[in-house]
């Protein structure tokens, strides 16, 4: 029935990327823009993990459910998983740095709107 799992979740991830992009482009409040970046991140992570899925695959962990001989045929691709684990931590770091700058901007300007920050425009 219907579409396979990875195609469905990849579509969802791309739609989440588009939603995050819309939030980044349309909002004027810095914190809302950072929320948009977070959605963008999450969507790309879903897309990357979905590219590693194979039909009927199991987690790439060798135990009683997945013998060492079947590993190459039944397990999903471990490379995107390993990439995304590090990408999540880096995404958190980027969010933390952006929020720290937002707090400093609010301390200096008493506003969170990016319309107030005109002197760094070209």
């Amino acid at each position: 029935m219907g579409l396979p799992v990875s195609t469905l979740l990849m579509t969802t991830g791309f739609l989440l990327v588009l939603i995050g992009m819309w939030g980044i482009l349309r909002h004027r409040n810095i914190l809302r823009i950072i929320i948009g970046f977070g959605l963008f991140d999450t969507g790309l992570h879903i897309v990357m993990v979905a590219t590693g899925y194979i039909t009927g695959g199991t987690a790439p962990i060798i135990d009683t459910a997945l013998g060492i001989e079947q590993a190459t045929t039944r397990a999903v691709d471990p490379v995107p998983s390993a990439l995304v684990v590090t990408a999540i931590v880096i995404g958190f770091s980027v969010t933390a740095i952006m929020l720290a700058f937002a707090i400093r901007i609010h301390d200096a300007r008493k506003t969170l709107s990016i319309d107030a920050l005109t002197e760094s425009k070209w």
């Binding site: 396979p4 195609t7 590693g52 190459t72 691709d77 390993a82």
Partner: protein, 229 residues
């Protein structure tokens, strides 16, 4: 006008993404690289969890750089937010509410379990799902609960800094040991492989995983504590 151009940009990206999804069919078998990894990690490294094996050995240098990035973020957030003791800018006259006694006691009961679970996740990283990053994140979630339920607690930044610096130094030291006694930097064959699937096995992977967990947990705790005050 602005809304129209934003909509146009989003629609263009949507068209590109639709093209990607439309040409994508679910894969039936893994790529050649992944097949190589899936065959090599259990045999050569002795680690049942392939993802942890890749993260800690084949991409060990990348993981080290990642931890360095986390360290720089902790330092950067400290520079940006530390320094002056700002109380919350809004509602200056209001006292902070007394924390509920029930919540505090419950947090004290649950916290040791959470830290224990974090240690379990770190130590079992090569056997089941988990590893240094995930266990460190669980430990940092315990710190988060501590700061939410008992707002009066102060984290000892000096202790955390010394802990994560020591962990980093030992991490790099193990890497250099791998350079001397085994094939290259961060090679996990400096310790014997041991029996497949037991807790003490897989060479140096559990040691590196524990150091990674300590470092990530300490750094994430420092980052979220910088945001608190």
């Amino acid at each position: 006008m602005k809304a129209a151009s934003s909509l146009l940009a989003v629609l263009l990206f949507g068209a590109v993404f639709a093209g990607i999804v439309g040409g994508y069919g679910e894969r039936e078998s893994v790529s050649a690289l992944a097949e190589q990894y899936l065959a090599m990690v259990p045999r050569e490294l002795g680690a049942p969890n392939v993802v942890t094996g890749i993260l800690i050995t084949y991409r060990g240098f990348d993981t080290l750089g990642e931890v360095a990035v986390l360290f720089m973020v902790a330092a950067g957030v400290g520079v940006l937010l530390g320094g002056k003791d700002t109380t919350t800018a809004s509602e200056p006259g209001r006292e902070p509410r007394r924390p509920s006694e029930l919540v505090g006691n419950g947090a004290e009961i649950t916290l040791p379990l959470i830290f224990l679970f974090g240690a379990y996740v770190i130590k079992n990283g090569h056997l089941s799902a988990g590893g240094g990053f995930q266990g460190g994140a669980v430990v940092a979630s315990g710190t988060m609960l501590l700061m939410l339920a008992l707002p009066a607690t102060k984290l000892n930044h000096g202790f955390l800094g010394v802990t994560e610096s020591l962990a980093g130094v030992v991490y790099v030291g193990i890497g250099i040991l791998g350079l001397v006694f085994a094939a290259g930097f961060l090679d996990s064959h400096i310790l014997p492989l041991g029996e497949f699937g037991t807790l003490i096995s897989a060479g140096a992977i559990p040691v590196i995983s524990a150091l990674l967990g300590v470092k990530v947990g300490a750094e994430l705790s420092v980052i979220i504590d910088r945001f608190r005050n």
